[in-house]
Amino acid sequence: MIQLDYTNRFKKSLSKLSNDQRQLVREALRLFVMHPQHTELDFKRRTGSKYYTIRADIRLRVAMSKIDEEYYLLELVGNHDDVNSLDRQGR
C-alpha cells in the first residue's frame, strides 16, 4: 500500500475546490493508495519535473513528490496551470 503525507499547500489548494471536486480527489487518492498504476489515474512523472501527478477528473490533477517507492507527499491539487506553476516554483 502507498503511504501518503501532505503539505499545507495541498490543504489550501484542496480547500478551494467544490464539494464535488473534493469527492473526486478523495476517490482518486483512495484508488492511488491501493492501485497506483490503475489506468484511470494516469499516474506519471511530469516531463522535466520532480513532481508526479494523478488524474482526479479530466481537468483536475493531484501533484505529489516521491519520498520513496511507497511513500508520496501530496503537494497540490488543481488544473494544468496550477501544476505548471508548481514546476516554476520548484525550478
Binding site: M1, Q3, D5, Y6, T7, K12, V33, L73
Partner: protein
C-alpha cells in the same frame, strides 16, 4: 537558533566555499618541460575539484542543518533573508565562476596542436577539459540545490506529518485534511 545566529552561520558557510578556479590555463606546447608543468597543473586542479565537490556538499548540509535548528516562528524571516539577501550574492559569485570556467574551456578548445605534437598535447587538453567540465557540473548542481532550499523549508511545503498508513483509516485521514 534565531535569525541572527542563522545569518552568522550562513555567512560562515559561504566564507568557506571555494569560489575561484585555481587552474591557470596556459597553452601547452610540445616541449617536455612545458607539458610536464601543464600536466602537473591539471593534476592539482583535478585534486582541487574533488575536494571542492566535498566542500559544496558539506556546505549544503550545513545550510540545511542551520534551517533545521530555526524555531517555527522564525522560519519565514529566515527564508526571506536567505532568498532575498543571501542567495542573489551567492548566485552572482557562482555565475562569475561559471564565466571563468567557460572562458578557460574556450581557450583550451581553441588550441589546435600541430601534427608532430598532436597526441601528447591532445591528451593533456582532454584531461584538463574533463576536469573543467566536472567543476562546472559541481557549481551548477550546487546552484540548483541551494536555490531550492527556500521552497524546501517554506512552512507551506513541509510535510504535515499526518501519514496515511492504513486503507481502513483513509476516510478519517482525508476528512482531517479537509477540517484543518
Amino acid at each position: 537558533m534565531g535569525l541572527m545566529a542563522f545569518r552568522q552561520e550562513f555567512a560562515g558557510v559561504i566564507a568557506e566555499l571555494p569560489t575561484s578556479p585555481q587552474f591557470a590555463v596556459q597553452s601547452p606546447t610540445y616541449t617536455p618541460d612545458v607539458m610536464i608543468e601543464f600536466n602537473a597543473a591539471v593534476q592539482r586542479y583535478e585534486r582541487q575539484v574533488s575536494v571542492w565537490q566535498k566542500s559544496f556538499l558539506a556546505a549544503l548540509e550545513k545550510i540545511r542543518a542551520a534551517f533545521d535548528q530555526i524555531p517555527d516562528d522564525q522560519i519565514e524571516p529566515a527564508i526571506s533573508y536567505f532568498a532575498e539577501d543571501a542567495l542573489p550574492e551567492v548566485f552572482r559569485n557562482l555565475d562569475d565562476r561559471l564565466v571563468d570556467l567557460r572562458s578557460a574551456q574556450t581557450r583550451l578548445q581553441e588550441i589546435s596542436p600541430s601534427a608532430h605534437e598532436s597526441e601528447v598535447v591532445s591528451t593533456g587538453l582532454a584531461r584538463a577539459l574533463a576536469a573543467i567540465e566536472k567543476h562546472t557540473e559541481i557549481l551548477q548542481h550546487f546552484k540548483e540545490s541551494v536555490g531550492l532550499i527556500p521552497e524546501e523549508y517554506h512552512p507551506d511545503n513541509r510535510p504535515v506529518g499526518d501519514v496515511l498508513s492504513s486503507i481502513e483509516d483513509f476516510d478519517n485521514w482525508f476528512d482531517r485534511i479537509l477540517k484543518h
